[in-house]
């Protein structure tokens, strides 16, 4: 179960265990947390929603892409859904590699890809309103109705 959508808090030690390997000298964990202030607007809480079956597939695809680009890598990604408060953990990406530079590079690749192709949405709740947030990369227009070939 290296690629998961969950309603529960994510345990860092478990994420670490999923990628531990006798061959690994480095593990990077990226943890996305709920920040209070974005562009001077104060978030009260967030709701995350996922198309779970497809999201799990797309997370696994990102894992496959990483193993092609960085051989001997192990990857685990868990994204939480439901109501998240300030400082709660939304996503954890764990990557182990024999050498440390790859662990940083591969991890960063994973978070960028999540923001492109994984069907998960975030609704921000502020004191004075609420809104489903469009994609954070601000590449919201898909003239062909789907991401470009290179994004799949």
């Amino acid at each position: 179960m290296n690629f998961q959508i969950t309603k529960d808090p994510i345990d860092m030690n478990e994420m670490m265990d999923k990628v531990t390997s006798r061959n690994a000298g480095a593990v990077t964990l990226f943890v996305g947390t709920v920040r209070e202030l974005t562009k001077n607007k104060k978030t009260l809480y967030l709701i995350y929603e996922a198309y779970e079956a497809m999201a799990v597939k797309k997370l696994a695809q990102i894992g496959d892409e990483i193993q092609l680009k960085w051989p001997e890598t192990k990857v685990a990604i868990t994204h939480r859904v439901g109501k998240l408060e300030i400082t709660d953990v939304a996503v954890v990406i764990a990557v182990s590699t024999p050498h440390r530079n790859d662990a940083y590079e591969a991890n960063r690749y994973a978070i960028e890809r999540i923001k492109e192709i994984v069907p998960i949405w975030k609704k921000e709740h502020w004191e004075d309103g609420q809104e489903w947030v469009g994609n954070q990369l601000e590449t919201v227009a898909y003239p062909s109705g789907k991401p470009e070939e290179s994004d799949l």
């Binding site: 198309y51 994204h79 996503v91 923001k115 998960i120 949405w121 947030v133 994609n135 954070q136 109705g145």
Partner: protein, 77 residues
Amino acid sequence: MIQVHYFAHLREVSGLEVENLEAAGKTIAELKEMLSKKYHLAGFDTVMTAVNEEFADEETVLQEGDHVAFIPPVSGG
């Protein structure tokens, strides 16, 4: 019958999580046009479509039993 899944603001506007429709033989583009009239869904141009959990393009022809999901710009992470 095909099954249509709605998420995020599309779920709120349509008032539905999922519905079954007679749409086999139609393209995604045709289905989108039909639904945007039915539910007054604006902004379908920035919405991706998945058929059976894979991204699909506007010309894809729907088959009996397909699961279609509209994927607004994602914001996970």
